[in-house]
Amino acid sequence: MISPVQSIATLGGRVRRGITGLGAFMRLTGAILIRSGVALRRPGLVTQQIHFIGNYSLLIIAVSGLFVGFVLGLQGYYTLNRYGSEEALGLLVALSLTRELGPVVTALLFAGRAGTSLTAEIGLMKAGEQIAAMEVMAVDPIRRVLAPRFWGGVIAMPVLAAVFSMVGIIGGWIVGVLLIGIDPGAFWSQMQNGVDVFNDILNGVIKSVVFGIAVTLVALHAGWTAKPTPEGVSRATTRTVVTGSLLVLGLDFVLTALMFSN
């Protein structure tokens, strides 16, 4: 039988642990940012990480973008066709990709493809006591391991989101113009009339940068705090995907409310 005092204590303990976790996350973030000078002093480390995070994610991002564009083109056509405004398909595809789908879907895929590999790598370094060995050799592991990965992720994410949007628009064009036969002039000119460089494209890029920061930090923190056991690493990897994806969706709501509310 649990006494009321005990249950209140359990609740208090949960809140305290939550706040402690948030504090640890923020401290790690601060520590990474303070030691970010290494990105300028040894850019080779960051390039290596961009290659690992960005180039290897390019294929999955491009293929997903293409199919999302296909689906947008088909679904948009079916709906717009009822109102006799198929020409607005280009506008629909471009706006939904640059404003929402590009940054969000890229960030979700990024959490699954790059975030997990970051977490697993750092978790296994910890399990193999490589992090401890670095500390013994007076090499700061946050500076040497975490900071380059952070900047690699932050730089790779907007690039991937831009590629996703571009490939998606090309996918919408393939379905809309090549397969269904919408007039290409109307397709592009409606798009150009409706999509604003600053309001839509730049805000999409800002979103993707924010998501890049969030997902990379979550992945690094999960790996850094993983228990150095096989089970601990697998739990940390799961945590990266779950927390990262939820954070992206929540942040997206906040950013959309801020950017497009007028």
Partner: protein, 165 residues
Amino acid sequence: MTREKTDFWVGLFVLLGAIALVFLALRAGNMSSFSFAPTYQVQAHFDNLGGLKVRAPVKSSGVVVGRVASIGFDNQRYQAVATLDLEQQYEFPSDSSASILTSGLLGEQYIGITPGGEEKMLKQDSEIQYTQSAVVLEELISKFLYSSASKEGGADSNASPASKP
């Protein structure tokens, strides 16, 4: 993988991102409609701007000759004031008139310039004297209702507020 090879692939990756952004800005966005031609600014007062937005096109005979630079409210004359950026290659007589028009039935609003017959041309900071406000659909409908109601009632149309020009 060697350092040079990694650098090459990362360079290619970043280049691809830049190409994607340029594609989005030029092909999907309205960057290509940004005109960097030298412009001169003129002002125009309107009783009602309707739904006119900043960066809406300014057209003459259907050709885009400039953009709306800014929209404000003149507290001395209690009128809306729009500043227009006109491209320097297009010149208009100083008695030209500006009216707010709508493209299509429910499309976006733009400013149309009808050239006058004066010898002098509009210059930087000059003002367009003759303006015509936006047509507000609700006013149009209420005018129509008033006038048809007064016709049916047989009242003299001069008394009706809607018969004012």
